[in-house]
């Protein structure tokens, strides 16, 4: 519903406000690298880069309704295209971007054809096996890819006139590409393609009856989505300066999908929130428990899904309702700095954690009918069509 609101928003005041917000965001984005320490700028760069991949995945999953667990493979393809070009042909960095994008677009187009026949779960698992298959393939192609040792390539260097440090320059380059990519994603969604995609997701038969060319749009969605992942991969090579097959294991694909869902499906800024989640939360987990960061990270994913079942992007809209509904719950599961809005919730020291078997707070305030599990801490289902 929010997406419809976005497309239909024509009110003048609203436009003004939107323009102001964009300006503010741009100012913050441009000012950040002069303010933060280099490693924080690096973190922001990673957020932007993942956001591109997530925006692509969002086209497919959020707006197209198809699940892919193989976007790590496209990400890797983009990263390797860039790395191989830099390593063997010594092309400039910028030259690798269109090649990686076009290559992944074509790859996505080729894989989009079988993807047409598969839906839901089956598509997810076929794409997952693609992600599993890619690392050994990259190792096999050793003469080109450098095998399991990977490739070390140069990072883009700031030109002298800019007076910027390396991390700042990289940040601005990635920021520029990300801004273009996000705009492209937004425009794609507002175009015929986007409307067709949403129509297909919401009711395939109805869309077809209305004259939407189903197979064309589904295949194109896959291709666009792969292209975004490839662009993100290309940026990755620029930022890290090193690629190796085992960096692109299926864990990356699962992380991308998790990031997208945590950030918020079918939302325009969900990918940014999701990217921030996958970048910052592992370090936060580590600060909370050095012995087993994984324990905390796993719990945080679950906790965010409890608090924001439609993703962090859907949170602001539901916070007033949700806060009122389960004061005690939320406080115990406050996810991370990303959702600073949650701090409105007063701390409830006695609230049990997500692992505790009983939640007296919810129970007491909300009498339940045993046959209806949905009321137990379940969110209102307004977000989902």
């Amino acid at each position: 519903m929010s997406t419809i609101a976005v497309t239909l928003g024509t009110d003048r005041a609203r436009r003004l406000r939107a323009a102001l917000t964009v300006l503010l965001a741009a100012a913050v984005a441009v000012g950040a690298p002069f303010y933060f320490a280099p490693f924080q700028v690096f973190q922001l760069t990673m957020v932007l880069l993942y956001a591109v991949a997530l925006a692509g995945l969002n086209l497919l999953v959020g707006f197209g309704g198809q699940i892919s667990l193989g976007h790590g493979a496209f990400f890797a393809a983009g990263a390797y295209t860039s790395a191989v070009m830099l390593d063997r042909y010594d092309t400039g960095h910028l030259a690798t971007l269109p090649v990686a994008a076009a290559g992944c677009f074509l790859l996505g187009l080729a894989l989009g054809v079988p993807a047409l026949r598969l839906r839901g779960l089956y598509l997810a698992l076929v794409t997952l096996s693609l992600a599993v298959f890619l690392p050994p393939l990259l190792k096999r192609l050793e003469p080109v890819t450098g095998g399991s040792m990977g490739l070390i390539v140069d990072k883009p260097q700031p030109p002298a006139w800019s007076g910027l440090a390396e991390d700042q320059w990289t940040y601005f380059v990635v920021l520029a590409v990300t801004a273009v990519a996000l705009l492209l994603a937004r425009n794609l969604l507002r175009s015929r393609v986007g409307r067709a995609l949403r129509a297909v997701r919401d009711d395939e038969s109805a869309a077809e009856v209305m004259g939407v060319r189903l197979s064309l749009h589904k295949t194109l969605a896959f291709a666009w989505s792969a292209m975004f992942a490839g662009v993100a991969g290309c940026l990755y090579t620029w930022v890290i300066g090193f690629v190796s097959p085992d960096s692109f294991s299926f864990v990356l694909s699962v992380t991308l999908l998790a990031g997208l869902v945590v950030g918020g499906l079918a939302s325009l800024y969900g990918p940014l929130l999701g990217a921030a989640f996958v970048t910052y939360v592992p370090s936060v987990s580590q600060d909370l428990s050095e012995a087993a960061p994984g324990v905390v990270f796993g719990l945080l994913i679950i906790a965010v899904m409890f608090v924001a079942p439609t993703g962090l992007a859907g949170l602001p809209g539901r916070v007033p309702v949700a806060v009122a509904r389960r004061l005690s719950d939320v406080a115990a599961r406050r996810p991370s700095g990303v959702s600073a809005v949650l701090h409105r919730t007063p701390p409830a020291a006695s609230a049990p954690g997500p692992e505790s078997p009983s939640r007296p707070g919810t129970r007491a305030s909300e009498p339940l009918t045993p046959a209806d599990p949905e009321t137990v801490g379940a969110p209102p289902r307004t977000e989902k069509e």
């Binding site: 999953v61 699940i67 079988p114 026949r117 598969l118 839906r119 779960l121 089956y122 997810a124 698992l125 076929v126 997952l128 096996s129 693609l130 599993v132 298959f133 050994p136 393939l137 190792k139 096999r140 009711d203 038969s205 109805a206 299926f250 699962v254 999908l257 998790a258 869902v261 945590v262 499906l265 012995a291 087993a292 960061p293 994984g294 324990v295 990270f297 796993g298 719990l299 945080l300 994913i301 679950i302 899904m305 409890f306 079942p309 439609t310 997500p354 692992e355 505790s356 078997p357 045993p370 046959a371 209806d372 599990p373 949905e374 137990v376 801490g377 379940a378 969110p379 289902r381 989902k384």
Partner: protein, 296 residues
């Protein structure tokens, strides 16, 4: 050793791996039948159950007593997981539930590492060492044993799905929870039961494969991918399909790994991918799955 015995030996090895994949695939199919979701944490829950068994044996309990205790603990644990972790996101989009199981995967894996460390554990062998020699082909007792237990579990699940009223109820729940609720089914209980049963089947799988794969927190991580492949190939709602799918995947990857030099052991993981793609292009619901009929 002749080329034929050689080939048969490889087939036996393939069946051995296939049985391992099938055992976990059964748990995946079970949970999918009950709840309609894919549970990424299934393998990790199985690994956790295996550690429970190991802990019991290590503290002096005889294995054949530890086994039923483990299964009971797993059943209860599975129900508890449903109640605590899954219930709060009931009714949220399906992907949300899937991502919750991803979080559960990461959590359980790290938790096991925290409690039991990553050192390989000495898990008791249920089947004797050695094996049969059939015309020069060696078949380990453990391979036979795993195949046998997998067949029994498959049979039980088949009976449960097709010939009991709870099978019917659970199909109703998986198909359409709200309608099921309207017709008086206690959906919450059915889902808890599904998670409990899947955890139990997973525990059987973990205990079976631990002596072969060696117990450590990442034991089931690799198996999960192949179990997904097996279930996808067989069709996600058929226990027979899961087992047949597992065996096909196991045999196919072993044979191509051993005999097709271009593919070799490093790329053999691509073989199940090709098979699945080929099968799904012809039968999108998998080998044994039933095509979903959607009323538009």
């Amino acid at each position: 050793m002749s080329a034929v015995t050689d080939l048969l030996q490889q087939v036996v090895e393939g069946l051995g791996s296939g049985a391992v994949y099938a055992s976990l695939a059964l748990a995946l199919v079970l949970i999918h039948r009950f709840t309609g979701i894919v549970n990424f944490a299934q393998g990790e829950l199985a690994m956790l159950s295996t550690y429970v068994a190991w802990q019991l044996v290590a503290s002096g309990m005889p294995f054949w007593l530890a086994l039923p205790v483990t299964l009971a603990v797993s059943f209860a644990g599975g129900m508890l997981v449903e109640r605590i972790v899954i219930r709060p996101v009931q009714g949220a989009p399906e992907l949300t539930v899937v991502i919750v199981t991803v979080g559960l995967f990461i959590f359980v894996n790290a938790l096991a590492g925290l409690i039991w460390s990553f050192t390989v554990k000495d898990f008791p062998r249920q089947f004797p060492d050695g094996g049969l020699d059939l015309a020069g082909v060696r078949v380990d007792w453990s391979t036979l044993g795993i195949l046998g237990v997998v067949a029994v579990v498959m049979g039980l699940l088949y009976l449960l799905f097709q010939h009991t009223s709870s099978g019917l109820v659970m199909r109703a729940v998986a198909c359409n929870p709200s309608s099921a609720r309207l017709s008086g089914i206690r959906v919450g209980r059915v889902l808890m039961l599904g998670w409990g049963l899947a955890a139990t089947v997973g525990a059987v799988s973990g205990v079976l494969v631990a002596p072969v794969l060696f117990l450590e927190p990442n034991m089931m991580g690799g198996v999960l991918i192949y179990a997904f492949a097996a279930a996808t190939l067989g069709g996600f709602d058929s226990p027979v399909g899961a087992v047949v799918g597992g065996l096909i995947v196991g045999v196919a990857e072993t044979l191509t790994g051993a005999y097709v030099d271009v593919i070799g052991a490093d790329l053999k993981v691509g073989v199940p991918l090709m098979i699945i793609l080929a099968v799904l292009l012809v039968r999108p619901q998998g080998l044994f799955g039933r095509a979903a009929v959607v009323r538009a």
